[in-house]
Symmetry: C2
Subunit: 406 residues, 2 copies
Amino acid sequence: MSHAFVPDGGVTTPLGFEAGGTYAGIKKFGDPGDRKDVGLLVARRSCVATALFTTNRVCGAPVTVSRDHLADRRARAIVVNSGCSNVAMGARGIEDARAMARAAAEHLGLQEREVLVASTGVIARPLPLDRVRQGIQAIKPSVEGGLAFSQAILTTDRVIKRRAVRFEVGGRTYTVGGTAKGSGMAHPNMATVLCFLTTDAPVGADWAAFTLKHVADRSLNMLNIDLDTSTSDSLFWLASGEAGGDPIVEGHPAARPLHDAVHALCEELTRELARDGEGARTLIQVEVLGARSDADARKAAHTIVSSPLVKTMVTGRDPNIGRILMAAGRSGAELSTERISVSVNGVLGYADGSFAAQNEAALRKSMDAAEVHICVDLGMLGTNQAVAWGCDLTTDYVHINADYTT
Amino acid sequence: MSHAFVPDGGVTTPLGFEAGGTYAGIKKFGDPGDRKDVGLLVARRSCVATALFTTNRVCGAPVTVSRDHLADRRARAIVVNSGCSNVAMGARGIEDARAMARAAAEHLGLQEREVLVASTGVIARPLPLDRVRQGIQAIKPSVEGGLAFSQAILTTDRVIKRRAVRFEVGGRTYTVGGTAKGSGMAHPNMATVLCFLTTDAPVGADWAAFTLKHVADRSLNMLNIDLDTSTSDSLFWLASGEAGGDPIVEGHPAARPLHDAVHALCEELTRELARDGEGARTLIQVEVLGARSDADARKAAHTIVSSPLVKTMVTGRDPNIGRILMAAGRSGAELSTERISVSVNGVLGYADGSFAAQNEAALRKSMDAAEVHICVDLGMLGTNQAVAWGCDLTTDYVHINADYTT
C-alpha cells in the first residue's frame, strides 16, 4: 500500500475543492449547536464526474435530476440537504430538485446543469424550497468548510464520517477525499446512504466510472444496516485534475494506486457507516472464502451480515454458530455441508460437519469485543471471496424507528 | 365457501388419525405444566403423503430422511420433537433421524419407511436420542391426543395453533385438520415453521402434491416473521381416505372444495403464525394489486411485509407511507410512480403522485388496531395480486433472540 490517510482529511483535502454547510431549519431534531442541513461542494474548475445511484424503483427526484445533469459526465458542484428526501413527490419533486440546483448555480455563478443534487430525509413530503434557498445563499464555500459539509449531510448519524487518502506516483502527489452519511432520523427514516468523493487526480471518464463501480461493489454495496434500500442512495465522485499530469486511464502508472486509494477510502467509510448504523453497538464483518463464484461469495456474505438472527446473536454475545450456517444456507450460495467451516474472531466454531463444542467458552469470550469478525469457508474449494459489513440489531434500532413519529 | 371450521379441531379431527405428545426433557425452558417436546401422529391405514421442505441448503437431517421416506408418496406416521433441530450434525444427524423414525415405527408396529420425521430447535447440537426414544415409548396415540401433539411441536410460540375445516360434496363429508408452530426459543433459535395437515379425503398423489404447493405459495410461503429461512421448515399432508369415495383428482366434484378447505386452513394457520411471531404485538397483512405479473405481486408483498422499517412503523403506529413506497420500490416489481396508491386499514395514504396529507390523522388513528392491513396498488393496470402476512418488530424480538443464550 503506497497510500496514507491524511489526518482530518475530507472532501476539500484534494486540490481545487471548497465546501460549506449551514442550518436552514429543515431538520427539526438534534443539537442546534452542531446541526446543519444544507451543504455545498464546489470545484474551482469543471470536473470529470461519475456517480452510482439507488436501484430502488421509487427513486428520489434529486437522483433523477443528477442523472440528467451527469449526461455529459462533467460537474462543478453538488448541493445537498438533509431532513427531507424529496422522494415520491411526482412532477413537483422534479421541479423542486431542479430549482435547488438552479439556486446553487446562481449563488456560485455556474450553469444549472453543472450542479448535482442530493437530498436525504423523510419520504413523500414536499421540499421546503424557501429554506433550502436561504441555506444555499448563506454558505460561503471554503477549503475549511469540508467539515461543515460533512455535518450538513447527517441525519441520525452519531458521528461525522470523512477521510482523505494521499499517494505519490512519478513524483506527483494525488489526493482522494470523501464523506458519507448512514442511517437517518431527522424525521425518523431510512438507512439512506449518501457518499461524496473528490480527487485532484485527472481521470478519464470511462476509467473513473468503471473504477467507482468496482470499488463500490466491494465496499459500500457490501454494507447492510437494515435491508431497506434507500430511495436516495447516491455515490458521487468529482475529479478536479488539479494535481496535474495526463488523465489516468487503464495502463497509467497511477491507475492502480488511485484505484487502491479510492478502495481504501470507501472501505473505511463503509466500516464507519456500519459502526454507526441505527442503534448499533457492534460492527460485524463477514468474510466468505472458498466460494465457487464471486457472486456466491458476495451473496453469502451479504445474507449472513444482514440476518436478523446473526445480528441478535452478536447483540447477545452468544456464539450460536447454527444461525451462521442457517444464513449461509439460505443465501443460495453453493456450499459443502461436510467442508463448511465457521470461525468468530479467530476462534473455530464449526468444522468437519460438527460444532466445535470444545471451543464454546473461547468463542463466547472472543465475542466480547467492539467488532465481531465472522469468517465462513463455504468448502467449495474455490478461490472466490467477499467481505460484507453490518452491525448488531439492538432495542435502540426498534426505538429509533418506532418510537419517534413523523 | 362451502366449508366451515370445526370448533376445537386439529390433526385428529379427520377420520382415521390419532396423536399424542409428552415431555421427555429435551426442552429446558417453559412452564412444566404445558411443556411437551415429543409428539406422534399416526393414521389407522397407509396414507397418501405429500410434503414441502425448506429451500435452505443447510437442511435438517429429518428433512433428508423424510424426503427419502416419501419416495413412494405414502406414510402412516410422523414423529416430531422440539428443543433440538438435528441440523448440521453430519452423518451422525442422519443416523439419529433414522433411529428416531425406527423407534416410532417399533412403538407403533410399523415399518421405518412409513414414518416421517420433523425436529425443531437449536442447530448444530446432537439430538438427545435416549430422551426422544423414552418420549416416543410414553405416548399412547388417541383421537383426543391431537392437542398434546400440537403442544409438543411448540418452542417460543405463545399459543397453540390448530384448526380443522369440514365440507360436504355429494352427500359425503370431508374434513381437513392441521397444526403449525412458528418462531422458537427452546434454545433461542429461529423462526422454524413446521406444519402438519391431515384429511380423511381420498386423494390422488399428483393432485395432492400440486394442491399443497399451490396453497403453500399463497399462505405459508407468504409468511415472514424475520427473513431467516429455517433449516427445518416442513409442511406435511397425510390423506387417510377414510371418508370414502373415489380418489380426488382434477375434475372430481370435491377437488375445488377440498383445495379451498386446505387453503382456508393454511391461511388461518399462517395468520396465527404471524400474530404469534417472536415479540409480535401486531399482525401485518399486505395486499398488492395491479401488478404486471403474479411474481411481481408476490415479490412486492413479501418485500413490504418483511421490511424492518415498515415493521417498526407499525410498531410505532406511525403512518410513514414513504417507507411502504421504499419497500415496494426495492422489491424489483414493476410499478408506476404516478399511479401507485397505498392505503392502511382502509384509509388512503398515497395516490396521484403525492402523500394524502389530509388523511394523516385518520391514518394514524386507523393504525391503533390489533391488525394493520396495508394495500398497495402498483399501478401497472394488471389483475395480478398477492397477500403476505407478517408482524411488527418490537424490542421483545431483540430480547428473545439476544438476551437468552444457547
